[in-house]
């Protein structure tokens, strides 16, 4: 179980699940609250991320990370090549399910991963995932075409496809001193349903359909046992948004939000890490936000080993 403390001093359960070890045929079942094994980064805890914040695509399409309250079944096939198939159902809180659907199992996932080694120094994993969500009254804050804040509400079906890949290199497979990790994920989401524009005001309802995408690519290089540098590039594509009669009201600028992030971190021990991160964030139209962030991480208690 892991508990997260938020900036507003509230605590929330990040993950709390039971996992079987006795199912046949390479299967494993998780029940409870868990980070879904979709994409690459989704089921990694925030303290193992290579950057302080999640990629833009994760923030936009999964609200940071998809956690489900439900069941997830995975199976590793009895093949020499690593092939893992799985899927889950569960409630996923306010995003992407919406406030009207907090407790219902409104999300489903399917995912497949494969991977292997190239010599002793290289290993890789690649995967494809789908996330289905039924959204009821999912709110989002926006601005109208005149620039005033409005609150819109979406009800309908959301389908998200994710392609992910990671490549790790280290001399002779010894990652303690030198290593390079290349990682990237592509997201494409299609949503269809109805949108209520300016819910608390004019409340104009009409059909809504969108097809949007985003991706990120990053490289992290460990050049000394305790030191790493990383570079990440994020990009979102506004894509096609058709809100019928509401289209004219919505603010859909023709630009691609993007961000470039540079980080360097120092880990004096396995249980602590200091990180400096510089970012040029162009997620908002016409605005370049230069950011400097410093992070200190410390882990307490016995700590489980990390997955690939």
């Amino acid at each position: 179980m892991s508990v997260a403390l938020a900036a507003d001093n509230s605590a929330s359960v990040e993950e709390a699940f039971i996992q079987t070890t006795s199912l046949p045929a390479g299967m494993g079942l998780k029940a409870g609250r868990f980070l879904a094994s979709v994409g690459y980064q989704n089921d990694k805890h925030a303290h193992t991320w290579d950057f302080i914040n999640a990629p833009l695509a994760y923030q936009v399409f999964l609200g940071g990370a998809l956690a489900q309250d439900g069941l997830q079944l995975k199976a590793v096939l009895p093949t020499d090549q690593f092939i893992e198939l799985g899927g889950g159902i569960g409630a996923a809180g306010e995003y992407p399910s919406g406030t009207g659907n907090r407790k219902k199992p409104g999300t489903g996932t399917l995912f497949a991963h494969t991977g292997g080694d190239v010599g002793a120094s290289n290993s890789w994993r690649a995967g494809a995932s789908m996330v289905w969500a039924k959204a009821y009254d999912r709110p989002f804050e926006d601005i109208d075409s005149a620039g005033n804040p409005v609150n819109n509400v979406f009800t309908g079906n959301s389908r998200l496809a994710i392609l992910d890949g990671v490549w790790k290199w280290s001399p002779n497979g010894n990652a303690t001193r030198t290593s390079l990790t290349l990682q990237g994920e592509y997201f494409r989401r299609i949503e269809s349903g109805s949108l209520v524009y300016d819910e608390s005001g004019q409340a104009l309802a009409d059909s809504f359909r969108s097809a949007q995408s985003g991706w990120y690519a990053q490289a992290v290089y460990k050049f000394l046992p305790d030191w790493r540098v990383g570079l990440r590039y994020d990009r979102l594509d506004i894509g096609n948004v058709n809100a019928s009669s509401n289209t004219a009201n919505l603010y859909v600028p023709a630009y691609s939000p993007n961000r470039t992030t540079l980080m360097v971190d120092w880990s004096p021990s396995e249980f602590s890490r200091v990180r400096l991160q510089l970012a040029q964030d162009r997620a908002r139209y016409g605005l370049t936000d230069n950011q400097i962030m410093i992070q200190y991480q410390m882990s307490l208690g016995s700590h489980g080993a990390h997955s690939f």
């Binding site: 199912l23 290993s123 997955s307």
Partner: protein, 301 residues
């Protein structure tokens, strides 16, 4: 689309058929246990070794290839004593393989059959990578391999009763050859008794105990922590009072700390293979110790 599905199904069937061999499937965490299984099982087992002789067995990632190997294996042969604590639990969990869960016959821990050295009196993270069960690098004393061989042969027979007689016969044959070899190494290594050594990592207490080498300094300030310049200077100063004859390190260790000290003390560095595959000479268990003893003798001359 249907054609594509048929093709995918056919491909999956081929992959499944390929992996369904008659041999007992063994996944060895370290090369020495892979080599021991080959001695005991011959062609009755197919062995997949998770690490090479040039990898640090403390720090391996639960890579996809290893998850697949763990999924398909019938027997896991590892050192245990927490050596693989950073990756083996993840591997076992992700594999979904019920046969290799801790406590099952498919999970064999070699260190359980050996009396361990350096069992700590207290456990503190401030002390570095200290293993509660004691020092896990048991394979540097050949007498430990003899202690592990018998229970391992019994385990192979338990999991593959059809070939039980083969494992028993091969085990008896191996132990006879192994005991003769130990006698040979003991005689050859007699001049090493009492020789003071500096070690890089606390990797050789069993070797030291076997051959009577005396450890006078350790380059790592704490187990698993790379040598720092301050600590190296302290080691250098300490060697004035307690001189050593050589510096020992395993093939997978970073060589810089040892080289720094060797430059200033003119001590020879002995890069020991540490396990099978640690260098070109260490091809199997016998040549591993032939080479180890030879290198030590050469440095002590």
């Amino acid at each position: 689309m249907n054609k594509l599905l048929q093709l995918a199904a056919a491909w999956l069937l081929v992959l499944v058929a390929q992996s369904a061999q008659a041999d007992l499937k063994v996944l060895a965490c370290e090369p020495e246990w892979g080599a021991l299984v080959k001695e005991l099982a011959g062609d009755k087992a197919s062995v997949y070794v998770a690490t090479t002789g040039l990898q640090d067995p403390h720090h391996i990632e639960a890579r996809p290839s290893l998850v697949a190997a763990a999924r398909n294996t019938q027997l896991l042969v590892c050192t245990g004593a927490e050596l693989e604590v950073g990756w083996l639990p993840v591997l076992i969990r992700q594999s979904g393989n019920t046969a290799i869960q801790p406590g099952r016959p498919g999970n064999f821990e070699a260190a359980a059959f050996v009396r361990k050295l350096e069992v700590p009196e207290r456990l503190d993270r401030g002390d570095g990578d200290v293993h509660a069960a004691g020092n896990p690098h048991i394979q540097t004393d050949p007498r430990n391999l003899a202690l592990v061989a018998e229970p391992l042969a019994r385990r192979l027979a338990e999991l593959d009763p059809a070939n039980a007689a083969v494992y028993q016969a091969r085990s008896a044959d191996f132990l006879a050859r192994w005991k003769a070899a130990i006698q040979r190494w003991d005689q050859a290594a007699a001049p090493l008794r009492g020789v003071p050594v500096v070690v890089q990592h606390k990797a050789f207490p069993y070797l030291q105990q076997w051959l009577g080498l005396v450890e006078v300094a350790v380059l790592e300030p704490k187990p698993g922590v790379e040598p720092t310049s301050a600590h190296l200077s302290a080691v250098l100063a300490g060697l004035q009072a307690r001189p050593a004859r050589m510096i020992l390190r395993a093939a997978y260790n970073d060589g810089r700390g040892a080289e720094w000290l060797a430059e200033r003390t003119k001590l020879p560095i002995v890069v020991l293979p540490f396990t099978v595959g640690g260098n070109e000479q260490a091809k199997d268990l016998f040549s591993l110790f032939d080479d180890t003893v030879q290198r030590l003798l050469k440095a002590a001359r």
